[in-house]
């Protein structure tokens, strides 16, 4: 199927038009998990290099709308790389070719006029498809609810400066805590493992005195939940680290293993 959607904004002045690109898109279309999906081909004109990848999809959708076709469904919200909603597999790479960048922060200046771009949803057993590029990532929430917290209640607590945290540990904890829960690590992993996601939380909390207290219970429960959700195992491939829009290091997985081993030995 080939299809050239009308483009409402491509009619501006010729000087501007010269800078605009035409792209060949191959987009995964699937109405529901029950129906089979397939790639649809679209030629999209009038793509400005200053657009974000999602704005390019907005442009595609407006065009599809005008020509009477169903728009491509995709998740997005903050569009500044922090909410973790967006989740496009772009030319086989989770969040596309830029390192340390979520789909929403990928700009079209990274592509060339005439490029073919293949766009797919996250593909993983533990992420059932909802529609088109939208998947269900609630398995990640269930991993957090198994132990990704300190079990404190709301109420009075010790004066924070009575428990010092070295600047170095605070920074390392923050590096791990920067995870946005997008699931790119899972999508990029050939095993569909959520190890980087789980390890980031375990590492963040185990580096701080407040989280250390229940570190064993936490790692045991989170890892168990991760397995139950149908995520694969980690075999040290490292794709997760390169796909992570927040540059979370695979070293966290070593920390997770250590904490998990300690938990097993202790129990």
């Amino acid at each position: 199927m080939s299809n050239t959607p009308a483009n409402p904004s491509a009619k501006s002045d010729p000087a501007k038009l010269a800078k605009l690109m035409t792209l060949n898109l191959r987009v995964w279309r699937q109405k529901s998990p029950k129906e089979a999906g397939k790639f649809a081909a679209y030629t999209l004109k009038g793509v400005s290099p200053n657009m974000s990848f999602l704005e390019m999809l907005d442009l595609l959708n407006e065009g599809l709308h005008h020509s009477g076709d169903a728009p491509v469904e995709f998740d997005s919200d903050c569009r500044e790389g922090i909410c973790g909603s967006c989740s496009c597999m772009i030319n086989g790479q989770a969040h596309g070719p830029e390192l340390g960048t979520a789909t929403c922060q990928l700009y079209m200046r990274k592509f060339k006029d005439g490029d073919t771009i293949v766009i797919e949803p996250w593909r993983a057993t533990a992420f059932p498809l909802v529609r088109d590029l939208v998947v269900d990532r609630s398995a990640l929430d269930r991993i957090i609810s198994a132990g990704g917290y300190t079990s404190v209640k709301v109420g009075p607590h010790a004066e924070p400066n009575s428990m010092l945290v070295s600047k170095d540990n605070a920074e390392k904890a923050m590096d791990a805590a920067a995870c946005i829960g997008c699931g790119a690590c899972v999508a990029a992993c050939p095993n569909g493992s959520a190890s980087l996601f789980t390890a980031a939380k375990i590492t963040h909390l185990s580096l701080l005195p407040q989280g250390k207290v229940e570190s064993h219970r936490r790692s045991y429960r989170m890892v168990t939940q991760m397995d139950e959700e149908g995520f694969g195992h980690c075999t040290n491939i490292g794709e997760c680290q390169s796909a992570c829009p927040k540059d979370i290091s695979i070293d966290t997985i070593a920390t997770m293993r250590r904490e998990y081993m300690k938990a097993i030995v202790k129990s």
Binding site: P8, S9, S32, S48, M51, S52, D58, E62, L64, H65, H66, G68, A70, P71, D77, C78, R79, E80, G81, I82, C83, G84, S85, G100, Q105, Y107, R109, V130, R137, S138, D141, S145, A146, Y149, T150, V152, K153, V154, G155, P156, H157, A158, P160, N161, M163, L164, V165, S166, K167, A170, A173, M174, A177, A178, I180, G181, H204, L205, Q210, G211
Partner: protein
Amino acid sequence: MSNIKLDSNVPAGPNSEKWSKFKDDMKLVNPANRRKHTVIVVGTGLAGASASAALAEMGYRVKTFTIHDTPRRAHSIAAQGGINATKNYMNDGDSVHRLFYDTVKGGDYRSREANVHRLAEVSTSIIDQCVAQGVPFAREYSGELANRSFGGTQVSRTFYARGQTGQQLLLGAYQSMMRQVDEKAVELLTRREMLDLVMINGKARGIITRNLVTGETERHVADAVVLATGGYSRVYFLSTNAFNSNATAAWRCHKRGALFANPCFTQIHPTCIPVSGDNQSKLTLMSESLRNDGRVWVPKKKEDVKKNPNDIAEEDRDYYLERKYPSFGNLVPRDVASRNSKEVCDEGRGVGESGLAVYLDFRDSIQRLGESSIREKYGNLFHMYEEITAENPYQVPMRIYPAIHYTMGGLWVDYNLMSNLPGLFVLGEANFSDHGANRLGASALMQGLADGYFVLPNTLSDYLAKTTFTKASTENPEFKAAEDQVRADVKSLIEAGKKGTKTVMEFYRELGLTMWDHVGMARSEEGLKTAISKIQNLRREFHNGYKLVVQDEGFNKNLEVAGRVADFMELGELMAKDALSRRESCGGHFRVESQTEDGEAKRDDENFAYVAAWEYKGSVTDAVLHKEPLVFEDVHPSQRSYK
């Protein structure tokens, strides 16, 4: 005549004693009885997630709703700079009174003193709570917590986690809530949109939601409904708010009788990345914390605006904030900074391709502190800026311009955070109470968490303990009527979608442009009247027909957005109406007819020292104004000066 009486229920006594007195006098629900009460919480941002966690920990049964696929997507996640608290770690003279004073003054004397005082009082407990949760706040080499400065204050009281403070605080609250999900104390319902409030015997007793995956409507019953659904900046289409942020839940409550307070009080944030093209879907904020180390300037001469900024000599630069406001300099409050940017651009001294930008320059700080120090503080922001603009801010000054960022207005609440509808509580940005006509930086996070962790658990318990509940279930006729109405509304949206040629997004952008042009940074009587008639026409056109290609009721984002845009087209008119009736300038609300000789906002305390609370009367055009007079006991209104 309306029979609504606006009682703020502020406890008697001096401001500094009211909250203690409230807590001493409040009624409690005993632990065994708490599990008999179900509470609905709508929204999982800082306010909603913290309230859900706190209430569930106390033993209430909580049902929590989010429009997102997971609660962690809520837009609080995007807050960058920090959270205020009066720890006085810097030994620079901070105190509860000073935070209270700064907030009332910063809000240009249009907030309720008692609420603000309580906010300042609980601010330190928030930090204690978050540290206990493992929030990785920035630390000094000593291992103690670090602070930085924000606008509108002369002390350093802002706690932060790089430029991702909102994310870390939200994840702290989210994780606490997820612990309660694991304990089965919170039932979490994702991808659900609240489309109506159900009132039974004069009390809020439930909601109707739409399942955004299947399209089914659902009924949920409870003893109280807590709304924590955020603000309405997206009425401007382009704002720093997330794509899905919307006013629908709040607006539907308004249509059920909840008063909407100060809708025209919106915040325009001075440091956003300027608009670059017609297809832009949102604007990106550059944290206010950057103004600690960045200097704002434009060229003195118009002919220099297209020059490379690094080639403009020191004497040809106008650091206009430092020049006009020597005591606060680049750290004047947001409304003042924004208006000054507009002013210099209106003079033709704006920079960048559109001429609608000013420079935020780090050259001097990089020379003073070194690039690595700047990178450590703001690395992620600089990276984000470079991704978007393809310019390196370590070498070229950033270009920034004001954008809509936050809404101070919201549903009217009393001291207990309860709306005029008994049993409907409103928290965080969705209510109106704490920030007056302008919010200070790093205070939104403080308010969201104060409301959810420390205020609501007390005031809601007091309400539940004092109230006699009739038995209600989803079989009550009120539920059926509300659900039927919701279904009919969705159906008519789908029907209208078969008849037009313009898409929802085209209507949305058009509404946004009208709002920005006439209800934006400068508002005039003529402009506001134009806005009202334009919005009315746009609304009429929309309901006559727009283009919706997919008409099934299942997963359908265009249909979702259509419902939200329909509500925005009513709220936008109410904002213009409120702005028109407030014939004074205050905070972010700048009426061109009311300014001082040097162009600052000129308040009119004699006539406008009130909260404007609007009642829905069958249509937004017929809305009726109620006034809650503002009484100042501690902070005496004066012309705000940051000079």
